[in-house]
Amino acid sequence: MAAVAFSAVRKSYGNNPVIHGVDMQIADGEFIVIVGPSGCGKSTLLRMVAGLEAISAGTIAIGERVVNNLEPKDRDIAMVFQNYALYPHMSVFENMAYGLKIRGFSKSDIEARVKRAADILQLDPYLARRPRELSGGQRQRVAMGRAIVRQPAVFLFDEPLSNLDAKLRVQMRIEIKRLHRELGVTSIYVTHDQIEAMTLADRLVVMNGGRAEQIGPPKEVYERPATTFVATFIGSPAMNLIPARVQAPDLFELAGGLSVRLPAPRGAAAGTDLTFGIRPEHVALADDGAPLTVELAEELGADTIVYGRLDGGQELVVRVPGYLELNIGDRVGIQIDTSKVHLFDKASGQRL
């Protein structure tokens, strides 16, 4: 087990920079989830920790050692791949034992370790089988077993659940969480799935365009998104972002004519344009509220997502309890919970 430290880590392919300087300290035993849209550099960052991609500038340290120039096998890490990357011609046992065999562990040692990993992952009945005789979930467990037997300082997960169906994904998510609690190994987990990100992470790293836009506990990222990108990326459906203008120190006018009484942020004089953010779950229905025309209602069961339009033409997404019957064309009144409003700089997208 070890801490991991990134300092000013950069990566470029030729003249094409893809990671623009990431600084981050990961504590020993922490579960870090790196989340972001595809192409944001999250997998590249993980692969730089693994040693599968060279580090263009900056350093990555695992424990006390800077690992920039170490081979993957010398970094004391283990990695779980999206497509499992099991050796198709080896049995489950051999797959898990291969890394130990190369490292020259004794036969009895290998057997004990594989046995223990198989116990943890309930793979005992399958040890003699080939990967192709296993289901997707079992294969992924073997891939994790291969990581566990090595007892590495850091686990790296590269979208490990993306190839599984929805039900299995939930099950494996819980299993990974349990595994982390039992083993307490520092873990870095890359995903584009925000539910995985929110549920697994001790701390979340939201990446966009090669930068870490925000690093923090999931709840904090959700409640205080640092940028408009984070605000829209975390949370489903995404936060409503509405262009707004400060009218008076305690009055905003939103695009579409809606006025909201709310103290303006410091330094925002009357006439300042900014971006006003409110999550769909923080807009309530109220008979005397601003009128909203329902354009689409998605009934998810527990709640219903209403896609509507304010009278001024501004679109707004609202999450309402599932028992309400709403039809296209209905007009409802809405009320914004002013204590849950997020304000962002219009140009930079930074939180105000």
């Binding site: 693994a50 040693g51 599968l52 081979e71 993957p72 096998k73 890490i77 283990a78 990695m79 791949f81 999206q82 497509n83 499992y84 990357a85 099991l86 050796y87 198709p88 011609h89 291969y98 890394g99 190369i102 490292r103 291969r146």
Partner: protein, 281 residues
């Protein structure tokens, strides 16, 4: 449905039976011819097996056609077998290693080398046969197994085949083995080679037959009877001067020459078919 099904099934079987007959008939003729004595075969052809079967085969295997100046077939078969095996194994070893180098290593002019190998695909043995002969002659390798096999071992086709296969092996597998601590040769031996075994089997069958059927090259590089291969042996038996060719013995030799490739195909069939149709992953 069942009516047209029966009709098409009939048609399919008809075509298949016809195909088998076309292939099997010459072999049947060879078998029948190899069971008679020479006199019976002059000017006419018997429809059924004769009584000289074992005698004929014993003759060709043991002493050969003395009158026609042909040696015993036994040593020829041996030569052919050695040549085919060395070519097959050599081709596979060389081409799998060069494909491994081209796919998995970054070295200067990598693509240049690949294209050089690839371009030689366009040059069949016959085109470069004279310069090759010159080289082998200067190296004093005429009448040796080395001379017989070495020029035929390099193979662009096999290299290309393995390259294409290696390209389909998921990159994560390479990365996983790197993380597991396997060096390049360890990865080659533990992962790549086992994954390639059906390809190797298919290639072995094809290349073995290719080596076995070599005619022009052995004809050029061997002048000593002890180095003759069976395919050129047959040709020498047929073209005898001032005498009737001993067709019964020629046919017996042909049947003998047919057996090893058939054996290889039958023994490797399971793997061979797998290698052609299945991409195991």
């Amino acid at each position: 449905m069942s009516g047209s099904g029966r009709l098409s099934s009939l048609l399919i079987h008809g075509v298949l039976i016809l195909g088998i007959a076309v292939i099997a008939f010459p072999i049947l003729i060879a078998l029948i011819a190899s069971s008679h004595d020479q006199i019976t075969l002059v000017g006419k052809f018997p429809f059924y097996f004769g009584e000289h079967f074992i005698e004929n085969y014993r003759t060709v295997l043991g002493e050969g056609m003395k009158r026609a100046g042909g040696g015993a077939v036994g040593p020829m078969l041996m030569n052919s077998f050695v040549m085919a095996i060395v070519i097959a194994v050599g081709k596979i070893v060389i081409s799998i290693l060069s494909a491994f180098a081209i796919v998995y290593f970054r070295f200067p002019f990598r693509m240049g080398f690949f294209w050089m190998i690839f371009i030689t695909l366009m040059l069949p043995v016959e085109v470069r046969i004279l310069p090759t002969y010159q080289v082998i002659a200067n190296l004093e390798l005429l009448n040796s197994y080395t001379g017989l096999t070495l020029p035929l071992i390099a193979s662009a086709t096999a290299t290309f085949l393995f390259r294409q296969f290696f390209l389909t092996v998921p990159e994560e597998l390479t990365e996983a083995s790197r993380i597991d601590g396997a060096g390049p040769m360890r990865f080659f031996w533990d992962v790549l080679l086992p994954l390639s075994r059906t390809n190797i089997a298919a290639l072995f069958v094809i290349v073995f037959i290719y080596g076995w059927n070599q005619y022009l090259w052995p004809l050029l590089v061997t002048q000593e009877e002890s180095m003759y291969t069976v395919v050129m042996g047959i040709q020498r038996m047929v073209t005898v001067a001032d005498a009737q060719a001993e067709w019964n013995l020629v046919m017996a030799t042909t049947i003998l020459a047919l057996l090893p490739p058939v054996l290889v195909v039958v023994l490797m069939q399971r793997w061979f078919v797998k290698g052609l149709v299945e991409t195991e992953k």
